[in-house]
């Protein structure tokens, strides 16, 4: 296992900040922080990270994800890549990481990506790569870094939304906005419920995450994590339920962009 030499590993035995009581507060779990209505709303921000081409920040309930985009830039020259087909399109690389303090359930997360994070990165890559016009950028590389600051449920779908926002902010050409939603179902239950960002979902549920491109009416990606054997019709029922939240997220993301894009023309020169 490669050592991460750049990190200070002295904090491995530190205490969890959530266990620290604030003056005047009872040690309440984080899920009581936001009201019920706010749990289902997205809050978007962009251009937060300096020195990146584009960045986005999305809060969904208590889940917070920050994405930054670097590139397009020179491709990595490797002996293994062949010069022909590889270089006719840009390469998209996704790095996905939970912050050490992010997880509500798992306690402190290691600095090195573990298997869930690698799987999430690969899902993001498979989902976002088809939505970008990579053939317009030959011989380039685009890097997308996702950092989950707090994971209170629905974290992968929020990461998809955030990554889409960062890519749009970077000015990369896309076919459509990609938005995602997650439904989950505890073991033994029959109904799929929309997963919200308040940490109320227990670890042992099956979940289906669907990423959808609304204007094209195409599915960009789907991830099924099954805690029990699932029938195909159950999975398709879950997808059907995911569609409406995806569309609503698309509308709110689109509205957010329409509201903040006019101010971009500050870069329009005077006279």
């Amino acid at each position: 296992m490669p050592l991460d030499r750049y990190r200070n590993t002295a904090l491995v035995d530190g205490i969890d900040v959530r266990a620290l009581p604030l003056a005047g507060d009872s040690p309440a779990p984080a899920s009581q922080g936001k009201q019920q209505q706010q749990q289902q709303q997205h809050w978007f921000q962009r251009r937060l990270v300096q020195d990146t081409v584009g960045s986005g920040y999305v809060e969904f309930g208590d889940t917070k994800v920050l994405c930054s985009v670097h590139g397009p830039m020179e491709p990595k020259r490797s002996v293994l890549t062949d010069a022909g087909a590889e270089q006719s399109r840009a390469q998209l690389q996704v790095y996905y990481k939970l912050a050490p303090f992010a997880s509500h359930q798992a306690g402190r997360v290691s600095y090195l990506p573990d298997e869930t994070e690698r799987r999430a990165a690969s899902f993001l890559q498979d989902t976002l790569a088809p939505s970008l016009r990579l053939d317009r950028l030959p011989k380039s590389r685009i890097e997308l870094h996702c950092l989950v600051l707090e994971d209170a449920g629905c974290c992968l779908a929020t990461a998809v939304n955030c990554a889409c926002l960062a890519l749009v902010d970077a000015g990369l050409e896309m076919y459509d906005l990609v938005t995602a939603a997650t439904v989950c179902r505890p073991v033994g239950a029959t109904d799929w419920q929309l997963e919200v960002g308040d940490g109320s979902n227990s670890g042992g549920s099956s979940s289906v995450t669907l990423a959808y491109m609304r204007s094209l009416r195409q599915v960009a990606g789907m991830l099924v994590e099954a805690a029990e054997p699932l029938q195909p019709r159950e999975v398709s029922a879950a997808c059907r339920i995911c569609e409406d939240p995806c569309k609503m997220t698309h509308s709110s993301l689109r509205q957010f962009l329409l509201d903040c894009l006019p101010a971009d023309d500050r870069t329009a020169k005077i006279a």
């Binding site: 922080g33 397009p72 016009r133 009416r217 689109r254 020169k269 005077i270």
Partner: protein, 372 residues
């Protein structure tokens, strides 16, 4: 003992637990110049987002930021979308008044936006210009770049573009030469001209098919840049002008590269082969100019010689260290912006209002028309 420092949320009835606050989102913390306060309104017309339908009319030529897609009249992509096609059309695009066009034919296509930005129409060309994008480069642009690699008969230069730019050995003006072929000796002496890490000002000679730039310095103005500082700003802020080399009265030379790399340095004396080390007084002037360029860039004020000189005048008396504080940057940028706006109002264009989006190649100001 607390290992992490976090800003705890302010007293707010909605957020009474620990929450992570990102610096800069607090309304009381002035970070950027707000142009709305200065009376500038940005119109919300014709702003599009990737995936929006622009037009179905065949008379438009697709430009940058648009793509053609076929209208899928009969095909359903996923089985669960079968029942929802009826409701799809009314939430799809901005202008719905194009539904009176002819019905979907077989093979009908439409133009859609692929970037987020403002759409422009010039005659029949329809394009979408994003607020900021990578510097692409045009023939004749003055750029500032840093040498990354010395390869065989060429230098590879980072010019803030997608790919590295190339400066050929035949594209530099060597001292004491007329038009002669470069010999073996010249090739070995390339590092004496430009080594890795050097800054160079050059002009774009051509743009290759894959988008990489070919530069040249065949003019006495261009060449290696000596002592000074590089400031990196968004390329869209650099206003295209007749000359990009400015000798400011305070003894500082400012080179505003169109790729967003700006260089400030002490104005070199006449025909000094080896420049002497700049004095501390010169260096603080360079630092002041650099701080002015930086604060204008952070507040999204366009960069050209007038705006930088006005910022310098305002900031002349402040200590240079003060100019890196955001509130001081905001104050200076605001003054400069106000002066620039009053200067422009004096020469307002007919049809008034708004700012012409100067893309440098397509539009030359004026009102933007919506697409129909």
């Amino acid at each position: 003992k607390k290992h992490l420092t976090m800003q705890s949320a302010p007293d707010d009835e909605e957020l009474d637990s620990l929450s992570i606050r990102l610096v800069g989102l607090d309304e009381n913390y002035p970070v950027r110049l707000n142009w709305n306060d200065l009376g500038v309104q940005f119109s919300k017309q014709s702003i599009v987002v990737p995936g929006d339908r622009l037009t179905r009319s065949r008379e438009f030529i697709p430009g940058h930021g648009t793509l053609r897609r076929t209208v899928e009249a009969g095909s359903g992509n996923a089985s669960f979308a079968a029942g929802r096609r009826q409701k799809q059309n009314d939430d799809n695009a901005e202008d719905n008044d194009e539904d009176d066009e002819d019905e979907d034919e077989e093979g009908a296509w439409e133009l859609a936006a692929s970037v987020a930005g403002r759409q422009h129409v010039v005659n029949k060309l329809l394009c979408v210009l994003p607020g900021r994008s990578r510097y692409a480069g045009e023939i004749g642009d003055v750029v500032v770049g840093r040498v990354q690699e010395v390869a065989s008969r060429r230098w590879r230069i980072d010019a803030n573009a997608r790919l590295q730019a190339t400066l050929h050995l035949s594209g530099v003006l060597l001292p004491g030469e007329d038009l002669r072929r470069k010999s073996e000796e010249d090739e070995r002496a390339m590092r004496a001209v430009l080594a890795e890490g050097d800054l160079v000002s050059a002009e774009v000679q051509s743009v290759q098919a894959d988008g990489s730039l070919v530069l040249h310095t065949r003019n006495a103005r261009y060449g290696r840049l000596g002592q000074g500082t590089l400031v990196r700003v968004p390329p869209a802020l650099i206003k295209r002008s007749k000359t990009h080399f400015h000798s400011l009265p305070c003894g500082v030379t400012l080179v505003l590269g169109m790729n967003g790399y700006c260089w400030c340095g002490p104005t070199p004396g006449q025909s000094d082969v080896r420049e002497p080390l700049a004095s501390p007084a010169d260096r603080s002037e360079v630092a002041r100019v650099r701080a002015c360029v930086r604060l204008l860039a952070v507040n999204h004020v366009p960069l050209y010689d007038t705006s930088v000189m006005q910022a310098y005048e305002v900031a002349r008396e402040s200590p240079v260290a003060l100019l890196s504080r955001p509130d001081e940057q905001l104050r200076v940028a605001r003054l400069v912006a106000e002066q620039l706006l009053t200067a422009e109002v004096g020469e307002a264009q007919p049809g008034g209002g708004g700012f012409g989006l100067h893309s440098g190649d397509l539009i030359s100001g004026g009102a933007l028309s919506a697409v129909h």
